[in-house]
Amino acid sequence: MEVFTATEGVLQLVTFTLGSEEYAVDILKVQEINRMTDITMVPNAPSYVEGVINLRGKVIPVVNLRKKFGIMDKENDKDSRIMIVDIRGITMGLVVDSVSEVLRVPANIVEPTPPMATDAGTEFINGIAKLQDRLIILLDIDKLIEKTGELSMF
């Protein structure tokens, strides 16, 4: 299954950082990127659910990717961003350390995931793009929500 938009063998990605690693998602999945806002806590939700925010009158959940991937938690700072993505029709926010850039990479430099390579659970990883001096982990964000749909979120 091709989850990344490849136009003539070129992938368009939005890259962001979590801890020391660089991740990327398909640009078409990203709706917008916002600065941190007040997040309302949702009681008894899984720990990686940061809470809910007001996105122009819509109430959407926000997931902390660090917590979801088991990376050590850190205080949100001025670089922290909420990336608004569309996962199987559900709009949600992902808290990331910082958003780097929009990148075009040739599809043929993407290599399959080596086993146990990263902090993120390998099931969310689609492959790894090797640029000159960078390794970018390609995330399959559709897998963030399991097949059972929204229920596993909360």
């Binding site: 007040d38 009681p43 809910v52 009158g57 959940p61 929204e150």
Partner: protein, 650 residues
């Protein structure tokens, strides 16, 4: 009156078109999942609704067609008929025919389609003689079609297919040509062959025949004129040839109003909400600047503009809210005609009285109550009001009376349908319930009359002995109940045997806005629906008593269990670790009272309920969320879930 009628018909057209669009999709779904009872029920209801609506508007062909389609669906629903693709083909074809008929109604051309073939096919499916060709009398105006039927060759499947193709060809040709053609009568009059009176006579004869003949085998006007020797066969033929397509007629302007998806209105409402927030910030900044630079003319201009924007925004907000409110008159208007027609068909004398038509309701509610009301009023006429003679011998006036009223009651709008008919015989109802296997006598014995009456709303329950065009298939009442509960409303019955029945629909004024009590726990704020709040009490920790390990408080000699919201939600807050002064919100769920301990009370507010994206509702007592004036999200609690068994276990 003519305008009103047009409006009703255009509503009917829009609704039916929507239903048919839906049907096509549902059938496709059903083909993939044949055993899906919910889907079958859904389809059955749609067809039923189309039938009902066409019935009271007097579109007889539509009723004929949908009635038999419905019968076929009923068989499928009951499992008497297996939905093989061939059956599906026929049903789909009948749906297409409904579309053709709709086009005729839209074009106001009064053209009747030849339904004989279609009805025959449906009947064949219904009777289960599926393999045979449709058993029907050839229409009197024998055409090519009959040749096919009579020259039945051994390979029947082939013949059937050809028949199908033939029928389709003819159908589409008819629809295309005749829509724009002048009526034969008009042409004959124009040519001076016959007088207008003669044509009128012929039309009357045609109508009479239509009424006596079940299927669509109605002789053409030309044939009648020939038969009654008003015009010769040749003349008719000549003019028929002239009956060529004429330039497209001005079609009835179907849409006087625009139906807008509620979602779009919601979207506008949301955007206006955002605008209000932005305006608030703008005003703050502007007044700050004004205080800083008192003598700048530019700042004065900015302040002026800000004030203007403020005004517009407020008006805009009101206007958007108003677009969602409509008087119930919109729905009520179609009922007098419906009751008149119904009572005529059933030879009853019924008068409908309306009151409170000006009462305004949210648009989405207005749109949804039409169907339930149609069902309820039909029921009242059909089952409630007795025949005039019966009424007379019971000492009532021959005239039955149905009162349809709307009024506001607190935060609710109540719609009442009251008839002075025979009422519901609870004993008969009990027997029926047992007979249908919904319950046993022993169980019913323990139930109150009100509870027994509730059975009426179960799917598949109908006390009518005979299936009629009007009601009695047992789909009506459960549709009513489902639709009303979808709107957060409820329905109740009051009945007095021999004196009449009253249905009360209680609906919220609007779907989206509720009164809530804002409370604070630690740094979090929550909204509690005011409807379930009894009172708030200021409390000292020492007032708390522990009974069997549970914290309680005694309020006016009543023991009320106390739950600390902070502990339940695992929030670090004064009220969770023994602060001196806390507040208690006393909530009633069902008949029971609970105390919810919080840190602060912020007061009462009107909040707009919003669902949370991807949030599976009612988990952990969160009913939804709302956005406060400063743009923050506040969660709305659902006390019913919080204090039900599961909630307490925590």
């Amino acid at each position: 009156m003519a305008d009103e009628m047009d409006e009703i018909i255009s509503d009917f057209l829009i609704e039916t078109t929507e239903l048919i669009e839906g049907l096509n999709q549902k059938f496709v779904e059903l083909e993939a999942d044949i055993s899906n009872q919910d889907l079958i029920n859904d389809i059955f209801r749609s067809v039923h609704t189309i039938k009902g609506a066409s019935g009271f508007l007097g579109f007889n062909q539509m009723v004929e067609l949908t009635h038999i389609t419905e019968s076929v669906m009923k068989k499928i629903k009951d499992g008497d008929l297996v939905l093989v693709p061939r059956v599906m083909d026929v049903i789909l074809e009948s749906i297409d025919m409904v579309k053709v008929l709709l086009e005729h109604i839209k074009a106001k051309d009064g053209i009747e389609e030849d339904l004989g073939d279609m009805l025959g096919k449906l009947k064949a499916v219904y009777d289960g003689v599926s393999a045979d060709k449709p058993k029907k009398e050839p229409p009197p105006s024998s055409g090519q079609q009959d040749v096919f039927v009579e020259s039945s060759v051994p390979d029947q499947a082939d013949v059937e297919q050809e028949l199908l193709a033939e029928a389709e060809d003819e159908g589409s040709a008819d629809a295309g040509d005749e829509q724009n053609a002048k009526h034969i009568g008009e042409l004959l009059v124009e040519d001076g062959k016959v007088s207008e009176n003669d044509v009128d006579d012929a039309l009357t004869i045609q109508d009479m025949i239509k009424e006596s003949v079940d299927t669509g085998m109605v002789p053409k006007v030309g044939e009648i004129l020939t038969a009654t020797a008003k015009a010769s066969g040749e003349e008719v033929k000549k003019v028929l040839a002239k009956q060529a397509p004429t330039p497209e007629k001005d079609k009835l302007q179907v849409e006087q109003t625009i139906r807008v998806d509620v979602e779009r209105l919601d979207n506008v409402l949301n955007l206006v909400g955002e605008l209000v927030l932005a305006r608030n910030r703008l005003m703050k900044t502007s007044s700050g600047l004004e205080a800083k630079f008192t003598d700048s003319s530019e700042i004065a201009l900015l302040a002026e503009l800000t004030a203007f924007i403020n005004l517009i925004t407020t008006d805009l907000q009101l206007a958007v809210m108003k677009t969602r409110m409509q008087p119930v008159k919109k729905v009520f208007n179609k009922f007098p005609r419906m009751v008149r027609d119904l009572s005529r068909t059933m030879k009853k004398e019924v008068e409908l009285r309306l009151s409170g038509e000006e009462t305004e309701l949210d648009k989405s509610i207005i749109e949804e109550i039409g169907d339930p009301l149609v069902h309820l009023i039909r029921n009242s006429v059909d089952h409630g009001i007795e025949m005039p003679d019966v009424r007379e011998s019971a000492g009532k006036s021959r005239h039955g009376m149905i009162v349809l009223s709307a009024y506001q009651e607190g935060n609710n709008i109540v719609l009442a349908i009251e008839d002075d008919g025979k009422g519901i015989d609870v004993e008969v109802l009990r027997e029926k319930i047992v007979e249908k296997g919904f319950s046993t006598y022993e169980e019913l014995e323990r139930m109150s009359t009100k509870e027994v009456l509730e059975f009426i709303f179960l799917p598949g329950f109908s006390t009518a002995k005979q299936v009629s065009d009007v009601s009695g298939r047992g789909v009506g009442m459960d549709v009513v109940k489902t639709n009303i509960s979808k709107l957060n409303g409820n329905i109740s019955i009051e009945t007095d045997k021999g004196k009449g029945t009253k249905f009360l629909l209680r609906l919220p004024l609007t779907l989206a806005i509720i009164q809530a009590l804002m409370v604070g726990v630690g740094r979090e704020v929550y909204a509690i629906p005011l409807a379930s709040v009894v009172e708030t009490v200021k409390l000292n920790q020492k007032d708390l008593k522990t009974i069997r390990g549970k914290e309680t408080v005694i309020l006016r000699d009543e023991v009320v269990p106390v739950y600390r919201l902070a502990r339940k939600f695992m929030i670090d807050a004064p009220s969770s670790n023994g602060a001196e002064r806390v507040y208690l919100v006393v909530i009633v769920v069902g008949e029971k009272k609970f105390g919810m301990m919080v840190d602060k009370l912020f007061g009462q507010e009107e909040v707009v309920i919003k669902s949370i994206e991807g949030f599976s509702n009612n988990a952990d007592g969160i009913a939804g969320a709302t956005i406060t004036g400063d743009g923050k999200v506040v969660l709305i609690l659902d006390p019913a879930v919080m204090f039900s068994g599961a909630g307490q276990a925590r």
